[in-house]
């Protein structure tokens, strides 16, 4: 098992274009220890500092491993439990920024319509914007196949018993999905309204989907998944006339948990509201690319400045 994944004893597998070859067909890459292939991104260590508070006997040899009460000491470690994941997420974020890619993390319960949203979105982007998808599910490559069927590259991550994607798995998947600058990377998380919320993947924006069929109080019952979303998509809005749910109550509950999130109601099937989502996507992508361009220009200016100073 991969030490950093920590999602149970089942092996995590990736299938999709290989890191070395972008050929077709599902190539399965076992993610067991020792089975790693291809370039391995470095392992980050989260910021930590530790100091000893000695209960140590001064006469005790430094490297004594003798058990016993007298050898006990306190070690202070002010470190986030998820520091390892956060380190991988920071690496992913830096890599995506360097490549000029706009990355989105899509979270929702199973069946909210994540894959259908992606399929319809990719059809709309086709021929205009480069995009790729990382699909997370416990089992099957069905979702990645649905993405490939509309002509876009996809890597399927099967987490086995794992209930969420983590930044380490996404880092490996990234190696298989070369995208040109300006491309969009969609990461479809494992369908789960709880666990994925805790794991930063290195994304630029977080999108939570809630289908209107799931009821009004899901944001109150599962606040964590809504709390950090930049955008909340209320899907299957075409079904509203057939349901006993009150749409304004859903919107109110989202606003109670996350007052700053943009909320868009849409239907991937009927197309209602879909234009608003595509406009949000285009706007967020442009903002991200402009920000990256500004950083690059500042760096170029600093380099030129350093050159001129040196020349004078």
């Amino acid at each position: 098992m991969c030490v950093a994944c920590g999602c149970g004893s089942d092996a995590v597998t990736l299938s999709g274009p290989d890191a070395a070859q972008t050929g077709e067909g599902a190539h399965t890459h076992s993610h067991d220890a020792g089975a790693h292939s291809g370039p391995h991104h470095g392992h980050a260590h989260g910021h930590s500092h530790a100091h000893d508070h000695g209960h140590d006997d001064a006469a005790q040899p430094q490297h004594s491993h003798a058990p016993g009460l007298d050898a006990r000491r306190m070690v202070e470690i002010e470190q986030n439990i998820l520091a390892k994941n956060d380190g991988f997420a920071a690496q992913n974020r830096a890599r995506l920024a360097a490549d000029g890619i706009f990355a989105l993390n899509l979270l929702a319960g199973p069946g909210a319509g994540k894959t259908t949203l992606l399929v319809e979105t990719l059809k709309a982007l086709s021929g205009r914007v480069a995009a790729a998808v990382i699909e997370g599910d416990q089992q099957t490559a069905n979702d990645a196949e649905r993405i490939r069927a509309v002509g876009f590259p996809a890597v399927q991550i099967n987490t086995g018993k794992g209930c969420h994607l983590d930044a380490h798995m996404v880092g490996h998947a990234l190696e298989r999905l070369p995208l040109p600058a300006g491309g969009i990377l969609f990461i479809e998380n494992v369908g789960n309204l709880v666990c994925p919320a805790a794991f930063d993947l290195g994304e630029d924006k977080r999108i939570t989907l809630l289908s209107v069929t799931e009821g009004e109080d899901k944001p109150l019952k599962y606040p964590d998944i809504f709390q950090d979303a930049d955008l909340v998509l209320l899907t299957k809005a075409d079904l509203l006339p057939h349901l006993d749910v009150d749409f304004d109550t859903i919107v109110g509950n989202v606003g109670r948990i996350n007052p700053t999130a943009r909320v868009i109601a849409l239907s991937s099937r009927s197309g209602v509201g879909f234009g608003k989502w595509l406009a949000w996507l285009e706007d967020a992508r442009r903002t991200r690319l402009e920000q990256l361009a500004r950083v690059a220009e500042e760096r170029a200016q600093a380099l030129r400045g350093a050159f001129h100073t040196a020349a004078e």
Partner: protein, 113 residues
């Protein structure tokens, strides 16, 4: 059940610390768990015992120190103490609050041999 994943992450952090700090066994782990960290204490305790089995922290005592939560109230525009995620603002009664304190889970210190 991402508490299992948290415990795996914790074990990896302990193993790293053991190398850096030159110890071979952990007898007590103290964690600081924020009220809004999204962690279920009992699930974490269960996961800890399972995940630490056979490791340098097998049988270690797990102490969880609860850190109280605070939230930003969008109605009165201040940070207020908050016990429950869905509680109204204690200052103005507003309902739109976002946690800004007690959101982390940290390893505080270890007792090691």
């Amino acid at each position: 059940m991402h508490e299992m994943a948290l415990c795996e992450s914790l074990r990896a952090a302990l193993e790293d610390a053991a190398q850096a700090q030159n110890f071979s066994r952990v007898t007590r782990v103290r964690l600081a768990i924020g009220a809004f960290a999204g962690v279920e204490s009992e699930a974490l305790r269960f996961g800890f015992d399972v995940v630490m089995r056979g490791s340098l922290a097998e049988g270690a005592e797990l102490v969880m120190l609860e850190e109280s939560g605070t939230a930003w109230c969008f109605s009165c525009g201040t940070t207020v103490p908050l016990a429950g995620r869905l509680d109204p603002c204690p200052a103005c009664g507003g309902e739109r609050l976002v946690p800004n304190g007690g959101t982390e889970m940290k390893i505080k210190d270890l007792e090691v041999v």
